[in-house]
């Protein structure tokens, strides 16, 4: 037979199996076809091995920078049920075991990304050699999809690197760079990328590095019952802390590793397969896989190569957002100009950028030299003189239409005709703003979320006169700086803030009804939100909440009528984190120090107990309703865009698969029924079911059928 997906060759009595053969996609993944071919190749190798007909076997990749990115996710997604998963795994285990059972020396020559099944295959070899390519990274990211490594990864990794290091990798899905892989014993040698294949045969037979005395002691200390128990206990605490118990996969992994101790390979692998099969069919995993595909799709851009690249950026206005945006440019080597009107204002922006770098510097993700270079690549300026150099200008001055229009009119005199100009407005009309420009076709909204270095989402806002090329160039740039872009039409609050508004507004109404701050925040946290609405309002700032509330009310009508509570807080100068007191109190560093008793005076004295589930419905159903309006208004093209926006813009719980996927799973009929009840019992206008939602229920359609 001839190989299509892998190559099989014997040279100087060494068997060479090449992955990524004829691969057209940017990432090589394991598919049913390549697994079948691998099975054949290993069968041939085994036969030779038994006859002592070969001196060794090496896996390598034909694709530079990619060894093997693991299993094709769609294969996992297609598994019909647990039995189907188990059947597939059984086949794979046979193959992986056969690799492990080869008598001859075997090695995996890892250059580039080696993830999931790629690493599990490598772990079956007696040795792993990594290239000195900075792209070389090894990891088991399965947990991020709500599953566990199913090809023996949980069995073989602890054997190779020890329990604590293995747990760290498997539970977090983090990737280890080549050099670190060698340091921790995952790789047996680092080889220069150009001479890897040439050197591999002699490294195949080289005796393994002897363990140092310290390593021996460490191993002995780890290998006893008591230490293991402590390790697992600590790991479990850590998992509960980070996942709050919403994600079953890490817990399953711990259960498997702890329970599988001392079991034979066959027994252990059977346990692992069972764990995988169960997790792969869980709702959480299905939802996480759903997000994987959504994200993957949002990163597709067909004509990438024909679009211009941003080499230099510029930001107008050096506030918290401006500084954050300057950081983003600098971090991505796009040496930005940062313009403001006073040196003190520029210092504020520098401070923000410096703060964003501080974390990476502290964790040694960047050197002092890199910090210096990137920070100094920000060119603070008091004039618009140098703006000709900028390919992309992002305006981030205060939210005032007249001021912004003035800025753009002036800016246009200084930039090149092909520069793209954008506004980081969160609440003003991009359509209206575009009128200030002579060439509106190169203008768009570009809405970042605070803090810029942590929030992955960016909304690209269109208007009537924008050139589609401008939008595509912005998408390309956003992807290059590792942000997740969504394209939305102009409208009050665009997408994310418009959906978030009823959530925050309903929170305020609930507080007015007598529900406690704790009950409210707790209900949201238990739903899976990263923070409760009261804490979120503190983060955003009550002044902003009031302002946005007004804009929503004006733009959307009575269903968005703002609660008076936020105005009361604003009047009492309880602005949230920015002045250290809102619903909660904060110290100078912005750390929360507890509840703010001043709030009690503004809340009704009579407390109302409300069922947690009821609070959640009051909070989240208006969001679903508003999302239906958004789709009806064609603010964005599909449900998936809403979900990407809510997950990456607000931290909507990923295991729920996004707001509209959650709504689909809850059942739209039930949602409409509940909304109707709220409309009767709570407020007619705020809970009025949107025509779109009614229509979908009538047509028996879901958001994802639209």
């Amino acid at each position: 037979m001839s190989y299509q997906h892998i190559s099989y060759e014997i040279k100087n009595e060494i068997i060479w199996i090449g992955l990524g053969y004829n691969e057209k996609k940017s990432m090589t993944t394991l598919t049913r076809d390549s697994l079948a071919e691998l099975t054949l190749a290993i069968a041939a190798a085994t036969e030779l091995d038994q006859k002592k007909g070969a001196k060794g076997l090496c896996f390598f990749s034909h694709k530079p920078g990619v060894f093997l990115a693991g299993m094709d996710i769609s294969v996992i997604n297609d598994l019909k049920n647990e039995a189907d998963a188990l059947r597939n795994l059984e086949q794979a285990h046979k193959l992986f075991n056969a690799v492990e059972d080869l008598k001859m020396p075997t090695a995996s020559l890892v250059d580039g990304v080696c993830l999931g099944g790629g690493l599990e295959l490598s772990l079956c070899c007696k040795k792993i050699f990594v290239s000195d390519n900075s792209k070389t990274a090894l990891g088991l990211p399965e947990v991020m999809l709500g599953i566990l490594p199913g090809f023996g990864g949980t069995y073989r990794l602890p054997k190779k690197v020890g329990l604590p290091a293995a747990l760290d990798m498997i539970l977090t899905g983090k990737q280890v760079k080549g050099k670190n892989a060698y340091k921790m014993g995952l790789a047996d040698a680092i080889l220069p990328i150009e001479r890897m294949k040439e050197l591999a045969p002699q490294y195949l037979t080289k005796p393994k590095k002897k363990k140092t005395f310290k390593e021996e002691i460490e191993k002995a200390a780890m290998d006893n019952f008591l230490t293991r128990k402590i390790i697992f206990q600590k790991a479990r605490e850590q998992v509960m802390k980070t996942t709050k118990g919403f994600y079953p996969a890490p817990l399953k992994i711990l259960e498997l590793l702890e329970g599988g101790a001392g079991k034979s390979r066959a027994d252990y692998l059977a346990m692992e397969a069972q764990g995988f099969a169960e997790l792969s069919q869980s709702v959480q995993s299905k939802n996480l896989q759903h997000i994987f595909f959504l994200t993957d799709n949002s990163k597709k851009l067909d004509n990438k190569d024909q679009l211009p690249s941003v080499k230099r950026g510029a930001v107008i206005g050096a506030g918290v957002m401006g500084g954050g945006i300057a950081w983003l440019f600098a971090h991505n080597n796009q040496a930005p100009l940062m313009k403001d009107i006073t040196p003190a204002a520029l210092e504020l922006g520098l401070k923000q950028a410096s703060q964003n770098f501080a974390g990476a510097l502290k964790r040694r993700r960047m050197t002092e030299d890199e910090f210096n270079r990137k920070m100094r690549s920000i060119e603070p300026t008091l004039t618009l003189e140098g703006m000709k150099s900028a390919d992309l200008v992002i305006e981030a001055v205060v939210e005032n239409m007249d001021l912004k229009k003035k800025v753009f009119a002036e800016l246009e005199e200084y930039v090149r005709p092909d520069s793209i100009l954008t506004s980081n407005t969160s609440s003003l009309s991009v359509q209206e703003m575009s009128k200030a420009l002579k060439k509106p076709e190169r203008f768009a909204g570009l809405h970042f979320f605070n803090p810029v270095n942590k929030m992955p989402l960016v909304e690209i806002i269109t208007h009537d006169k924008v050139d589609p090329k401008t939008i595509q160039t912005l998408i390309k740039w956003a992807l290059e700086v590792k942000k997740t872009p969504i394209v939305v039409k102009d409208g009050p609050g665009f997408l994310v803030n418009r959906i978030l508004a009823p959530y925050l507004n309903e929170s305020a109404f609930l507080l007015e009804e007598g529900v406690s701050v704790e009950a409210l925040d707790e209900a949201a946290l238990n739903f899976g939100m990263p923070m409760g609405p009261c804490r979120l309002m503190d983060e955003i700032g009550l002044d902003v909440c009031v302002k946005v509330g007004k804009i929503m009310h004006e733009g959307l009508g009575e269903r968005a009528i703002p609660s008076t509570l936020s105005t009361k807080l604003y009047d009492a100068k309880l602005l949230g984190k920015k002045n250290n007191k809102g619903f909660y109190l904060y110290d100078e560093k912005g750390k929360s120090t507890g509840r703010n008793s001043e709030i009690f005076k503004l809340l009704p004295s009579k407390k109302k107990h409300m069922d947690e589930m009821m609070i959640q419905m009051r909070l989240f159903l208006p969001m679903v309703n508003e999302a239906a309006y958004i789709l009806a208004d064609k603010i964005c093209d599909k449900a998936a865009t809403v979900d990407v926006g809510m997950i990456y813009g607000t931290g909507f719980p990923p295991f729920k698969g996004g707001l509209l996927r959650w709504a689909d799973q809850e059942g739209l009929e039930q949602i409409v029924e509940r909304l109707n009840n709220f409309a009767k019992e709570v407020n007619q206008e705020r809970y009025q079911v949107s025509p779109m939602l009614s229509m979908m229920v009538n047509d028996k359609r879901k958001f994802y059928d639209l």
């Binding site: 040496a335 401070k351 100094r376 920000i378 003189e385 140098g386 000709k388 150099s389």
Partner: protein, 429 residues
């Protein structure tokens, strides 16, 4: 020679050593000036022929500061860059090399300037300690190593201070301050005269800063440990100095009988300066509006122990070369290394007999004080050695522009016994 244009020149604030700029490595005192000038004049990054940077204490990490500045500024990798060293006139040497290259027609766009971080001049291990380290590395057995360590003596730890060595003439063995004392003695310049001149410098610098006269020439620099501060003004001049106050200071170099104090000489300083030089062709091609034209330069040597008189010879030679008289020059920037040395130059230039001692058979002339260092000089603003040569020209060009005057002359004395001078013509009249 073809005309050579000084398109635009900028400098960092001059900040006394050990203060706000102390953490900034030399390349970063220059790269942002280059980047700013590139952006301001809209030049393509691959069109610069050369980056020439004066620096006397090249940091061990950046032996060729010029090239690093070119790269850090984001110029195209093909842009060649190098560093020059002519002691105190390194920045002026950079300008003169740029002048020759453009004047001869081989280059069209050049960055020339200087940088110096005197705060970062190193302390080095002395010879004994260095030898011990070398022997330790050679030693094979622990016993041999122990033996070497046992040979350690406390005086091994006495450091060699690079800056102290750098400011001492290796040929005549005299410290720069001592050469100023020699001039004060030989030319009869009193302590009071020196203090009065120093006081003038401090007050002129303070007034110029207050009036915002340096706003045009200083480009604020990002500073601070976290790089979140902006320094926009010179730091170091003494706003409230008085002749009486300065008179109370003890002489620094000749403690008992001397006249030169830390206050009537220039302080150690960190700073940088940069010029964009262009040919006529480049000026037309990129629509540049040059500030000035560089007329010519001249360097001249003399005995190292009287290095402070270098400007006399340099100015004399340059005027001859340019066919100008001293009275044709509207503004002078004469670097104030020491008050005694500047006053000495003025005295010699105005006196035919004194001039004759250095082979000059005429009276060069008198520089009126209202044309000399009108915004203060090195005593107040400091002397970041590698930068000063071009810093003087930056300040000069901006003042000429402000006063709408034609000719300006910048000159300085050079440790080791030389003088350097440059004449420019203001085009923004």
């Amino acid at each position: 020679m073809k005309p050579v244009y000084l398109v635009d020149g900028k400098r960092t604030p001059c900040v006394k050593s050990g203060a706000e700029l102390k953490e900034i490595a030399s390349p970063y005192l220059g790269h942002y000036l280059v980047r700013h000038l590139m952006d301001k004049h809209g030049l393509p990054s691959d069109q610069i022929d050369e980056v020439i940077v004066g620096c006397t204490g090249a940091p061990a990490k950046y032996p060729n500061v010029g090239r690093i500045i070119a790269l850090e500024a984001g110029l195209h990798k093909k842009t060649s860059g190098y560093s020059v060293h002519r002691n105190c006139a390194s920045g002026m040497e950079a300008l003169s090399q740029g002048f020759d290259k453009i004047g001869s027609g081989r280059s069209h766009l050049i960055f020339a300037g200087g940088v110096e971080n005197m705060s970062q001049m190193p302390l080095m291990f002395n010879k004994d300690m260095t030898e011990m380290f070398i022997n330790l590395m050679k030693a094979k057995s622990p016993a041999a190593k122990l033996k070497i360590i046992a040979g350690f003596r406390p005086h091994f730890l006495a450091p060699v201070i690079a800056i102290e060595q750098g400011l001492t003439d290796p040929f005549c063995g005299k410290n720069m301050g001592a050469t100023a004392e020699t001039l004060a003695r030989e030319l009869g310049i009193s302590r009071k005269e020196q203090d009065e001149f120093a006081n003038r410098s401090h007050h002129l610098a303070a007034a110029a800063t207050k009036a915002g006269k340096f706003r045009e020439e200083i480009l604020p620099i990002t500073a601070g440990y976290k790089l979140d501060k902006m320094i926009a003004d010179d730091i170091g001049f003494r706003e409230n100095s008085t002749v009486e106050g300065l008179g109370k200071l003890k002489p620094y170099f000749e403690k008992e009988t001397g006249t030169v104090t830390v206050a009537n000489s220039c302080p150690l300083t960190d700073g940088g300066s940069m010029w964009l030089l262009a040919s006529e062709e480049a000026v037309k091609k990129y629509n540049l509006e040059p500030m000035a034209k560089m007329i010519d330069y001249h360097f001249h040597g003399l005995e190292p122990e009287r290095m402070g008189l270098g400007p006399v010879l340099a100015i004399h030679g340059l005027l001859k070369r340019a066919g100008l008289k001293l009275s044709d020059i509207d503004l002078f920037e004469l670097n104030e290394a020491f008050a005694a040395q500047v006053l000495g130059c003025l005295k010699v230039m105005a006196d035919k007999n004194l001039s004759a001692r250095w082979g000059i058979d005429e009276t060069i002339g008198t520089i009126p004080l209202d044309r000399l260092n009108v915004n203060g000089g090195g005593i107040a603003l400091g002397h970041p050695v590698g930068s000063t040569g071009s810093r003087l020209v930056v300040t000069l060009a901006h003042e000429l522009k402000r006063q709408k005057k034609k000719y300006g002359l910048a000159s300085l004395c050079i440790g080791g016994g030389q003088g350097g001078a440059v004449i420019i013509e203001n085009l923004k009249v």
